[in-house]
Subunit: 223 residues, 2 copies
């Protein structure tokens, strides 16, 4: 049994949990607040980030969501998420990096900071300008997702891949935090309705952070 150190709204942990569920890998959750920078946690992962995955057999901990996803791609045959030609695999990994780095930096990280970290740590109000900026960038990035989904059924091609898993992880956190305006994004909305219906994704949508409440439609496949 794996022990997964994470917190409810960590997009990188959601990416890993979605992949593990699709592959049928069981795990137990360990609640971690990386912003507390516990010594024991920094010892598990010097980068100070969730997710970290610890095996019961004393193997060294696995850290970094992409390194762990690649680990399961290599060791578990079920439901491959980085498949196809070398070019197709490069396109999947390019999009995963785009979601994990660009969408996270522009949209998810500022939303988490303004609407969650500030409430928990400094107990200050969110900066309206930073929120507006994150939502404006979310809209631009969703235009790009619409463009991708106008060309094929899934983010990186004709089949579901790790790019969809990463996209769903980041979009779901931004949506929880009220950062997504779905108006005018039909292709992405249709794609996300399909994601929301998956049994592997529903447990993520059922979880709540004590201090922050999501919009009413957040866990509804029909929204």
């Amino acid at each position: 049994m794996w022990h997964l150190h994470q917190f409810t709204l960590c997009p990188f942990s959601r990416k890993l949990r979605f992949l593990m569920a699709e592959k049928g890998i069981v795990y137990e959750l360990v609640r971690e607040s990386p912003w507390d920078a516990r010594d024991e946690f920094l010892h598990l992962n010097p980068a100070g980030m969730t997710p970290v995955l610890v095996a019961e057999d004393g193997s060294p901990p696995l850290a970094d969501s992409q390194a762990i996803c690649e680990y399961f791609e290599e060791t578990v045959d079920q439901f491959p998420l980085i498949s196809g030609s070398a070019f197709a695999r490069a396109e999947i990994r390019r999009l995963v990096a785009w979601f994990d780095q660009i969408v996270y930096r522009d949209v998810v990280a500022p939303l988490l900071n303004e609407r969650m970290i500030k409430r928990i740590v400094s107990r200050t109000s969110p900066d309206a300008g930073a929120l507006r900026d994150a939502m404006r960038k979310a809209n631009t990035h969703m235009d790009y997702m619409d463009y991708l989904l106008d060309h094929h059924s899934w983010m990186a091609g004709g089949t579901m891949s790790l790019a969809d898993v990463a996209a769903a992880a980041h979009i779901s956190v931004a949506d929880y935090l009220g950062g997504i305006d779905w108006e005018g994004h039909r292709p992405t909305k249709r794609w996300y309705a399909g994601i929301k219906s998956r049994p592997s994704f529903r447990p993520l949508l059922a979880e709540r952070m004590e201090v922050v409440t999501p919009p009413k439609y957040y866990d509804q496949p029909d929204f």
Copy 2:
């Protein structure tokens, strides 16, 4: 022949160029300034980042340094850089992400911003506080590199891997920009002396950015 869009002090392009040289893959350089955000470049890579690799045969461009490195790991047998057990491969990828994300964010990005971008774009002086902070963090991160190299000859184990390639790319850019104090970091210094001697790495050390001059010892294997 590949066309590699990059600029001299881009650590992600250095990582890719170092890997391509070790694998014996030839390429031609195309100078790109991502901070100019040219439409043609954003069309090649919506993330707006170097490196981007374009084939002459009209194949879609490859973007994101890690996606491209994985592409060459899968398609070129020579000098494997992500090898060993699945756990060993996960450790290599964890460290690559640590250099590409944490060391880049804390050290390389602020140095590039203060010492290069400000000179080229806004023609303002570097912020002494930001430089001090980057150098302080560089020192902490080098303590961790010393720790890794106290346990094995290379960053991720007994053989050279993509973790060393990523480390060398980021350290060389930080060193060019005067951000590294080598005093007190014997294991990392010894490791870097070995990297500097490699024929695959020397062309990177020979290049100069017009507006910024590196320290005298920068390209000397004996420093």
